[in-house]
Symmetry: C2
Subunit: 102 residues, 2 copies
DNA sequence: ATCATAGTTCGACACACGTCGAACTTCCGG
DNA sequence: CCGGAAGTTCGACGTGTGTCGAACTATGAT
């Protein structure tokens, strides 16, 4: 079983988080995840190929914005809302609020 | 006299703004500008060459975060705080607040 | 008209990034 | 044990990015 590593809360950097959110595809993924507790990869409705989606999910995970857990062949992704809020209070909510109107 | 073009407020995009802020040098520039009404290029204390600074200032200007006015040979740069706040309320303050503790 | 200054632009370099198809790995049902 | 599915990784491609020195442009002082 493949272990999925995540950065710990203290490793989240502002620049890293802003960079991860500065791509339209990743911002769309984060918005989808904000509306659900978690989603499987297949349920994420983004218009890119599977390998591109994997790439973007890796960027989000490495930035510390999301966490991934495996169940059989499925990968479930969720926002690390608690960690992000603890680390940068208000930032994610602010970004999500403004992304809705873009 | 060289006219310095800026995007209008409506042209500011969330992704563009986040991208502009997702670089450590530009974030440092924005932080410096947040503390002063405006600064000349030479007063911006960032550890990069003049051409790199020009590059970053262009990125910030193109993203709509800053405005530049020329006075003789000097260029004075300031945050478009009003436009940013109107366009994405709370976002810049939030980012600046968190960048201070990085 | 010349010179110094501030800042920009050019062009080059090395690396980063987003994209994808093919191949791969892991899991589970039959 | 085999095949299908989910998702990852590899490698390639084209473009983007941050860096800088050299050359350039505009301004103002002389």
């Amino acid at each position: 079983m493949r272990a999925i590593s995540h950065p710990i809360r203290e490793q989240l950097s502002l620049v890293g988080v802003l960079h991860a959110l500065s791509d339209p595809v990743r911002l769309e993924i984060v918005r989808s995840l904000a509306d659900e507790a978690e989603l499987s990869c297949g349920k994420l409705a983004v218009a890119v190929s599977k390998s591109t989606l994997s790439h973007h999910l890796k960027v989000l995970r490495d930035a510390g914005l999301t966490q991934t857990r495996a169940v059989g062949v499925h990968r479930f992704v969720s926002l690390r809302a608690g960690d992000i809020e603890a680390r940068f209070p208000g930032l994610l909510d602010c970004v999500l609020e403004h992304s809705a109107s873009t």
